[in-house]
Amino acid sequence: MNSIELISENISKTYSGKVIFKNLSLKLAGGDSLTVLGRNGSGKSTLIKILAGLISANRGDLFLKENNVKVERGKWYSKIGLISPYLNLYDELSAVENLEFFCGLRDENGSDSKDRINSYLNKVGLYEKRNEPVKNYSSGMKQKLKLIFAVINEPKILFMDEPRTNLDSEGIKIVYETAESHRENGILIVATNDADDIELCSDSLNIEDYK
């Protein structure tokens, strides 16, 4: 069976001399899920960005292992899905163009990816507006599109940073369903300051305990 592990050893991050967090260690494997808690500005998003390989920690080691073999950092992108407020898609392109572009980059072209794109767009209720430029979408619609972007390549590790942002109750339900289906096999990490989201994961850590 294909196994995945995300391991951080004593990672620390400082910005302009200010400690965001220090000596944070964790070890997550397929089937594990973790909620990262903390107030606004406490460093939850920074931790997510570091764990997703988007920025570097100042100290400590971070590994991604697949079948016990370290994945080169430049290849992490193929294992990771992320939905977050600081990740945008291309406003001038339509939903279909955005998803075809990103699926193409992830080497998933042809009718298979088109079918999958249409199926996801249907699921989140964006199918009718699939050919409109994303700049015409409401914030909630953009968030749903970002959710598709995060899960369409079936990532081994799914990061959800404030996943409820701008979503209505139907959108939140879709986020919950997505999280539940993902955590069975992959790693799920949710950053939130909403107490209801704690239910999404089996473990939690408070980033403020690492100051």
């Binding site: 960005k49 997703a52 390989g53 988007l54 920025i55 570097s56 950092r73 430049g74 290849k75 992108y77 990771i80 899905g81 992320l82 977050s84 600081y86 990740l87 945008n88 898609l89 291309y90 406003d91 001038e92 392109l93 163009e97 572009f101 990103f102 193409g104 980059l105 992830r106 080497d107 430029p133 972007f149």
Partner: protein, 221 residues
């Protein structure tokens, strides 16, 4: 895989640009302004080809400096760089951006050259040699400008940093290309320009290889 993804990044940049005209409109305006200024400054004076060559490269350099940084800066400003990072490797991104900048720069520089020849008495006696020099000069200019654009896109004061950083890196290229363009314009045979052409080609290869090796550190941090 690398070429396919580079092509996809190039295609995305091109279709985004054609829809938003984020760079093209401002650059076209810039070209018209700079060409008009040159026209008004020269007036009815008879100007030597040597000076005109310098003016031509001033127009080309500043147009490139004002436009080429936008491809990376836009990704940072619109917060789309993370989605790109989560979808492909760094080399596909730099190559895709390089292809896009090459097409943009070649198109604009042909326009600059066309307008420049019309508004001045600029004579090009060895046209084939002249065009070879322009092509190789542009390759180096775009290659260096693209990696510098990637570096400055992470900085706060992007507008100021770009010309400051690019000038010393581009200086050897500019000195060579201006000299070779001048020689070709006064009719020196292409065979006698081989030294300059080799320098321009070497500059392009060295900077492109260095960009491919260094870009992942810029992109991944």
């Amino acid at each position: 895989m690398l070429l396919k993804n580079s092509y996809l990044v190039f295609k995305k940049d091109l279709s985004s640009e054609l829809r938003t005209r984020y760079v093209i409109n401002s650059l076209l305006m810039f070209v018209l302004v700079i060409i008009s200024i040159i026209r008004f400054a020269i007036g009815d004076e008879k100007v030597d080809n040597e000076i005109l060559t310098g003016l031509l490269w001033i127009a080309i350099f500043f147009t490139s400096v004002s436009g080429l940084s936008r491809t990376f800066v836009k990704e940072e400003e619109k917060e789309t760089s993370f989605s790109l990072k989560l979808s492909t490797g760094s080399n596909s991104v730099i190559l895709g951006k390089l292809f896009f900048n090459l097409i943009l720069t070649f198109s604009l520089n042909l326009l600059i050259l066309f307008l420049f020849v019309i508004i001045t008495d600029y004579e090009i006696k060895n046209f084939s040699g002249f065009m070879i020099v322009i092509v190789f000069g542009n390759l180096g200019l775009v290659s260096a400008s693209t990696i510098i654009a990637a570096i400055i896109s992470k900085a706060n004061s992007k507008g100021t940093l770009y010309p400051v950083l690019s000038f010393p890196v581009l200086l050897p290229l500019l000195i060579t290309v201006i000299n070779a363009t001048k020689l070709a314009s006064v009719g020196v045979e292409t065979g006698k320009l081989l030294g300059e052409i080799q320098i321009l080609l070497s500059y392009f290869i060295v900077v492109t290889v260095a960009s491919l090796m260094l870009f992942k550190y810029v992109w991944e941090d």
